[in-house]
Assembly symmetry: C2
Homo-oligomer: 468 residues x 2
């Protein structure tokens, strides 16, 4: 039952400390099915706890001792206690989204216990509109954020009448693959060995297994500057040391609205997403009197239709590259910002396609695992990351999904702020909406929730600016 | 603004790790005042967050750096964020005490952030009977459990009509000392410097400042065996390595019932409390097929009317001694157990009074701070503590107390399980009831809440056995 952790997974355990918990999360909102009784959530919770056979992924805990020569290995938790992992929570009144985000922030700010499998699921009641929330957290040593979101989706169905659907952590040898989920090949995700899910670096297993070689590669790739790589991101309040408490904010917007803006200007959906972030951050930083004179730079993972990686890109393919995008936060006009972002993306992707595989790998590694690479970069004399924040955009299911008749209304990703990168924005699409998940250090990024208002204002500003 | 931590406080920071969070807690139940509206708890929460002037005790955070030569010092948190410390939580339905204890267990199992002042207060709504709960946690580097309970009580009033009472963390230069609270001398507790509250060792500041001298003293005191000191406590499931998650159970019983049992047998109230614990643990261990053949030994702090200490004892004086009590868990009859416990206490106290001050200090130190002393003892070749668990009994206010008209119905202490001591029982009296707070490691002490039923059964069994 003992399997060694691959070096990347282990790196996430080593890099973790109290101010940098290394878990990703997902917040889901469900609509109760027709005829759900007063005790629906309690019954759902009871059902979820009564899973007898747990999938291997959810039974593994990390372990190291003298017998493992101090190395981390995966072992099965022989005292598995499902009540530790599956929890029932409630919101104080009035039970608005505000109270939900507050609870989710708090849950995301505590570390997973290493004596146990590295996950927790919280069923949350008390939303005044009767919706049901679920927050799930998993250690980055087990899955990366994208795989985590896919795991959450992988147990859903497109059929509102389907019942007897097991919980995510149930072992399901006979489970038919739900329709409409992102294609994962032959296997259901939770049946894969832990190692196969570890795609944090977004590069081949070979490279992930060679941190030493990677350092050289990175160093080379970074020094060999290309237009897609800026080492001159300005200092911002986001690029400081962080503390352990978190603030999470999330909201979604109809994709049709964003697409209309894109169509009017020749920009992609992803360009519009970036422009929203840009405008929102500009307003936010202006309010704090902390806007740098030069543009913020975002690291954006992009797809190159290559096969080396399991990491999804904004275009739906596998991402093996990352583009450093000028967010144009120095420009006052929304349309100007969108145009500059669009151009920056085009340039970046062109540069990327002319990079050598080694350079691409370096870029990609840098983007996907800054937490474990930052110290390495520092050793190489690169004192700060060449970007201010990471903005990922991961496509999700396009159609409506259900869990035992409960309709999934929205799904929002929570990520990992790290020292020097106190804010993370991850977007994911689902059922016609683009969901934004903003995870920040509570102390370094004050009033994080204001960014939601600014994002909404920016959609309206872009619509006005491009005339849709 | 910089004050060094005394060595004892610092020891609690050094001893802390993920499986041994070093904070104490208190759970309080209040009855809403007459005419409280639907939003009473939300309003109470808002009021508590709107404190402008924070008492010094609640503003200090520990800090160490190269400039402090790696030593811990107290500094003021210049980015004090009251929303991090004062939190609003809710219970899932049906909102029974069971759900409250589950939430409290969870809150007690997460560590306090060291970048901030070491405390959190949670106002909890959702009890189906309409009561309001408060859970407060404070690091042991700031206050010991007894001082923490007193701090909680120190802001209450005996007057149900008193209003405009500030929150515990408010700075109150002009605050009149509420009547009916335990006498604390000239000062209100929260006005004392942090150091004066650190009474963990229950010994003079001089000794607390001399860990090295203490080691010798302890070693001497322990080897110089007396009848009050048994080095032969049996191994039990409680005396294992622990994990970081917690289970808390609490309940109270009318003191009149317990006193009646005592009167009928010549035993003290404290003897009856110990007999309840003994019977409950016997049943609990029998059910798990884990009852040792020989009696469990409890460390019980007792009072000697000495002035060297601020630690309260079961008799209301200052405790400077600890007695190792044979709990008589090997005897099947409740009355026999009570008789043996009574005798063991009498013997122990007699032995204690004939000990030298140095020996008493050693006993006391051992009892009050096992977490930091266990490693020292191990170095001295004493491989396990000479007792199975600590049972403290701390008198609280005898009359009904109120906070802005809300009646305090009950108050329950949460303590610190440590490696080798997975269960802690702390009792405190208030307004005619004896409250039991049981804090255990969730993994090492399974089904902790069963002990409550066993405690209740034991009261009845004792009543039958002694004929009251």
């Amino acid at each position: 039952m003992v399997a060694p952790l691959d070096p990347t997974s282990a790196a996430f355990l080593y890099a973790e400390n109290r101010s940098m918990p290394m878990h990703v999360g997902g917040l889901q909102l469900f609509k109760k099915p027709e005829g759900a009784g007063r005790d629906y959530i309690r019954e759902m919770y009871d059902e979820m706890r009564q899973v007898e056979d747990i999938a291997p992924l959810y039974l593994k805990r990390p372990h190291r001792s003298i017998r493992t020569a101090g190395q981390w290995v995966w072992v099965e938790d022989e005292q598995f206690d499902i009540e530790h992992h599956v929890r029932h929570s409630a919101l104080p009144r009035p039970g608005r989204i505000r109270e939900l985000l507050e609870l989710t922030s708090r849950l995301h700010g505590t570390r997973l216990a290493r004596e146990r499998p590295l996950w927790e699921s919280h069923i949350i009641e008390g939303l005044r509109d009767g919706r049901v929330a679920m927050y799930h957290k998993t250690h980055h040593a087990v899955v990366d954020g994208i795989s985590a979101m896919r795991l959450l989706a992988s147990v859903l169905s497109t059929d509102p009448d389907e019942r007897n659907m097991p919980a995510m952590w149930a072992k399901q040898p006979e489970r038919a693959r739900p329709t409409g989920t992102v294609d994962r090949g032959e296997h259901s995700l939770s049946d894969l060995p832990v190692q196969a899910l570890r795609t944090a670096l977004g590069i081949s297993a070979e490279a992930a297994g060679m941190p030493a070689a990677l350092v050289k590669t990175l160093s080379k790739g970074l020094r060999n500057e290309t237009s897609s790589l800026s080492l001159y991101a300005p200092r911002t309040i986001f690029n400081q040391k962080i503390t352990g408490s978190r603030r999470f904010a999330a909201q979604d917007w109809p994709i049709d609205r964003l697409r209309a803006i894109g169509r009017a200007t020749g920009a992609t959906l992803n360009d519009v997403v970036l422009a929203m972030c840009s405008g929102a951050m500009r307003t936010y930083l202006l309010e704090l009197d902390a806007l740098p004179d030069t543009s913020l730079v975002a690291m954006v993972p992009v797809g190159l239709k290559a096969k080396q990686s399991q990491v999804a890109s904004a275009e739906g393919g596998n991402a093996v590259g990352s583009v450093m995008v000028q967010l144009a936060t120095d420009l006052p006009d929304p349309a100007d910002r969108l145009a500059r972002i669009h151009q920056s993306m085009v340039d970046g992707k062109r540069a990327l396609s002319s990079m050598t595989p080694v350079q691409i790998m370096a870029m990609s590694a840098l983007g996907q695992a800054p937490a474990i690479l930052a110290p390495i970069l520092r050793m190489q004399g690169i004192v700060r990351p060449p970007y201010n924040l990471i903005i990922s955009n991961v496509p999700g299911p396009r159609t409506t999904h259900y869990w035992n008749g409960a309709q999934l209304l929205g799904t929002y990703p929570l990520s990992i702020p790290i020292n020097g990168m106190a804010l993370n924005i991850t977007c994911t699409s689902y059922d016609g909406n683009m969901a934004f998940g903003l995870t920040g250090c509570r102390r370094t990024v004050p009033h994080l929730q204001r960014l939601l208002t600014h994002l909404d204002d920016e959609v309206k500003a872009l619509e006005r600016a491009v005339g849709v």
